[in-house]
């Protein structure tokens, strides 16, 4: 009985936490947290598909988030025509050479039986391809990067609505996951984690330094939005009428007309910010629910049972004819695609793409903590984990400052220790994260909402 009540109680608790932020701090802060909670929940759903369903330890989450992020730029940014006309040919040729070289190598591997000949051919093609690519690639890149480097200096994107990038981000992440999976999925547990961690750092290094693609550390700012802008809202008649109608009691309580106008203006500015955040929250919730619906269906389907079988006993699953590598690759691609979607959503919410901000602590290990705290293998659990851990990550800072102030209250105002502690308090959030993970692993290894297996 109590097992069944775990999920509702957990979510009720979470709701109360968020409400308390709304009443205690402000609704704007609460909505800001909720939006990132929703994105975190999608990320942890993606990781749960890999870890919870199939037992794959992917420590390269950061890379897929960044790939989602860069696809938001590639979809929504206006194309830089000049860059395309100058460097487009060179880059497309390089791409063509790489793709055709890859296909050629695949063909050789399939059709040639002599090992020696095969190796010689593949090496020759790779080296030749490398030289051709370098010949076209370098001048193209330098010409693209020299066009108005302060503003563009990259190829730009397609100029489409940014919301398409959520899908595209998923697809890109899936494609990259295919190649990464092909390389790494033969490895087991620890090695897989270390290899994916390394590859995700390589992905970030590429995004940071290939300026023609993503402007690198110069960042891309001012991405378009799928929701209205605050400035437009504040001018719109319908919005002003709506806000006045909702607050008409408070407004009519103010008798002085000038004061009333000032109050209304302030209300409109505040509400426009809230309105934008609510729009985002609704969009994100829709995406989350769609992914949750698919995940739950997948988990309870024959496919999901097969995945669990592979996770729990690879040898047995392999003995009844399941191709472990193929299934692992499949689940790796699907999970990474979900993370990619979340990455694109994150960049959309931020309105900018900053490759320098991708750090493994924030984008890989925190997501891991979400999945483990929530409950590996349980989709609702992952969502709860995403919400709870993100909430703690944000609220840890005010909380630890409060604690430090309370503890050092007896000390002098300019006591050295007190000042040092207050300055260092924000770092306690990492401590809190570590403790949450350690305590969960020790006392609740199944997570808050454990995996439920229906036996028929």
């Amino acid at each position: 009985m109590i097992e069944k009540l775990r999920a509702p109680i957990a979510f009720l608790f979470m709701g109360l936490l968020l409400l308390s932020v709304g009443f205690g701090q402000s609704w704007s802060v609460a909505l800001g947290i909720i939006n990132l909670c929703l994105i975190s929940a999608i990320m942890s759903l993606g990781v749960n598909i890999q870890w919870g369903y199939a037992g794959l330890f992917n420590a390269g989450i950061m890379g897929f988030v960044a790939i989602g992020g860069v696809s938001a730029v590639l979809v929504s940014h206006e194309p830089v025509q000049e860059a395309w006309s100058l460097g487009g040919f060179g880059l497309l040729t390089s791409l063509l050479v790489i793709v055709s070289g890859y296909i050629l190598v695949l063909l050789i591997r399939k059709n040639l039986s002599s090992l020696l000949l095969r190796r010689i051919m593949i090496t020759t093609i790779s080296l030749l391809g490398l030289f051709i690519v370098l010949y076209f690639y370098k001048p193209a890149v330098s010409s693209i990067e020299s066009i108005n480097p302060a503003k563009t200096g990259f190829l730009g994107g397609l100029g489409l609505p940014i919301i398409y990038s959520w899908l595209v981000g998923g697809i890109f992440a899936g494609i990259v996951a295919f190649f990464i999976g092909k390389i790494t999925l033969g490895l087991r547990s620890d090695y897989l984690a270390i290899a994916t961690l390394g590859i995700s750092e390589i992905v970030i290094a590429i995004l940071k330094h290939e300026d023609w693609l993503s402007r690198g550390v110069k960042n891309v700012t001012g991405l378009s939005r799928p929701v209205p802008y605050e400035v437009d809202l504040q001018q719109a008649d319908w919005f002003i009428t709506l806000v006045s109608w909702i607050n008409h009691q408070k407004i009519s309580a103010i008798l002085n007309l000038t004061d009333q106008q000032i109050y209304i203006n302030q209300l409109i500015i505040d509400s426009s910010g809230l309105y934008v955040k609510i729009c985002y929250a609704l969009l994100f919730t829709v995406v989350l629910l769609i992914i949750l619906a698919f995940s739950n269906r997948a988990l309870n389907s024959p496919w999901g049972r097969m995945m669990r079988a592979i996770r729990d006993n690879e040898d047995a699953a392999s003995a009844i004819g399941k191709n472990i590598f193929k299934q692992h690759l499949q689940v790796f691609i699907i999970g990474s695609a979900v993370v990619g979607i979340a990455g694109a959503m994150l960049t959309t919410l931020d309105g900018q793409f900053t490759p320098g901000s991708y750090q493994p602590l924030r984008f890989t290990f925190i997501v891991w903590i979400m999945v483990i705290v929530g409950g590996s293998g349980n989709n609702l659990g992952s969502i709860f984990g995403g919400f709870f851990v993100w909430f703690m990550w944000i609220e840890a800072e005010p909380l630890s400052i409060f604690i430090v102030h309370a503890l050092t209250g007896g000390l002098d105002f300019d006591n050295v220790i007190r000042l040092h502690l207050i300055k260092s308090a924000p770092h306690l959030r990492l401590f809190l994260m570590g403790m949450i993970l350690l305590l969960t692993m020790r006392f609740m290894p199944q997570g808050v909402i454990p995996e439920t297996i229906k036996r028929t």
Binding site: F57, I183, T184, L187, R188, S189, D190, Y191, A193, I194, A195, L197, G198, I199, E201, I202, A205, K208, H209, L361, F365, W368, I369, I372, K423, S424, H427, L428, R429, L430, F431, L432, M433, G434, M435, L437, L438, M441, R442, P445
Partner: protein
């Protein structure tokens, strides 16, 4: 071509490639030895090792400051060398505390390696926070004493060559301390009774238990050695470059790369792996233009920088090597254990 050009070229290469690579390689090798020992005896990949190094360095820095404040310095040598033993002691105590409070539980449960690894991520977070809380997240230099053994300009005057060779004292200290540490470690593992029991335990746990080796003792000694190695590696790195908690955290990947390339669980492999990573990072990002200008005839001088990879990718090199090794030979050069 004159012989003087060849000497110039060699000096140039020693100054910009050989010395930095050996120094960085030694630091990585010591760090990778810790990773590999944990893997060999406790059988998991310790993600917290970078932060353990960071803690040890922090302890050493704090003691260095205290020593400096009461007027004790190392003279021409950095004061940190005097503080090092105390730093090691602090780190060992921390290691033993973590083992008692965290890892022991999972050992008793006979948990799978992945669980240990996840737990080590928790330890990583906690230690990271602890270090940042105590000493702050900023860059710190704690080197004092004589900076150079020989300056580039002195070398030029001394030899009359065009190229200068600057030997920094931290480079020599790193190399000497690393060699002494490695020799001591190998002597311990090969000759002492405890070292032999550690190797036996690593090789075949059941057999070792059967022959009366006390597992708790083996674990205890492993943590003592790991704590010492982590602190030494961290302090040497910090003396040579600087101490920043985030940098130490990111050293985890080059360290893993070194350990895996050599073969996880094999101490000699960790050392070789460390030098391979160190040398590749420096050699692949060095611009060979000047070197080639010395050794090639004038009409063959290169037009570009002759650099294999842009320095932007310096940090990614270890990961690229790691991935290649994992694909081609996951057991590493010295046939460590497969996971």
């Amino acid at each position: 071509m004159e012989y003087i050009d060849i000497i110039n070229a060699i000096v140039l290469l020693s100054n910009f490639v050989l010395l930095p690579a050996i120094t960085y390689g030694s630091q990585l090798a010591l760090a990778a030895l810790g990773v590999t020992l944990i893997y060999a005896v406790l059988r998991f990949s310790n993600f917290a090792h970078g932060d353990l190094m960071s803690f040890g360095t922090m302890a050493t820095i704090l003691i260095t400051w205290w020593l400096q404040s009461i007027g004790i310095t190392g003279g021409i040598l950095p004061t940190a060398l005097i503080a090092l033993p105390f730093g090691i002691l602090a780190t060992i105590i921390l290691c033993l505390f973590i083992d008692r409070s965290v890892y022991k539980f999972y050992r008793k449960q006979k948990s799978v390696p992945v669980v240990f690894m996840i737990v080590s991520v928790g330890v990583m977070f906690t230690l990271n926070a602890l270090v940042r809380f105590i000493i702050g997240p900023n860059d710190r230099k704690f080197f004092d004493g004589e900076k150079f053994i020989i300056k580039a300009i002195e070398f030029k005057n001394l030899t009359g060559l065009d190229e200068g060779l600057a030997i920094r004292s931290t480079q020599v200290i790193t190399i000497v301390v690393a060699i002494v540490t490695m020799v001591l470690l190998f002597w311990f593992l090969q000759k002492s009774k405890t070292g032999k029991s550690m190797r036996a335990f690593s090789n075949n746990e059941d057999l070792a238990l059967l022959s009366g080796i006390n597992p708790d003792r083996v674990v205890l000694y492993t943590w003592i050695i790991v704590g010492a190695l982590a602190t030494i590696a961290g302090v040497l790195y910090g003396l040579d470059k600087s101490f920043k908690p985030y940098t130490y955290f990111s050293l985890v990947l080059p360290m893993f790369a070194a350990a895996i390339i050599g073969g996880v669980g094999s101490p000699i492999g960790a050392i070789v792996g460390g030098y391979i990573i160190g040398f590749s990072e420096v050699m692949l990002t060095y611009a060979y233009k000047k070197f080639l200008m010395y050794i090639l005839p004038t009409n063959l001088e290169p037009s570009g920088l002759v650099q294999f990879l842009s320095t932007d990718y310096k940090f990614a090199i270890s990961f690229i090597i790691l991935v290649i090794v994992l694909i081609i030979r996951p057991t590493g050069i010295f046939k460590g254990k497969t996971l």
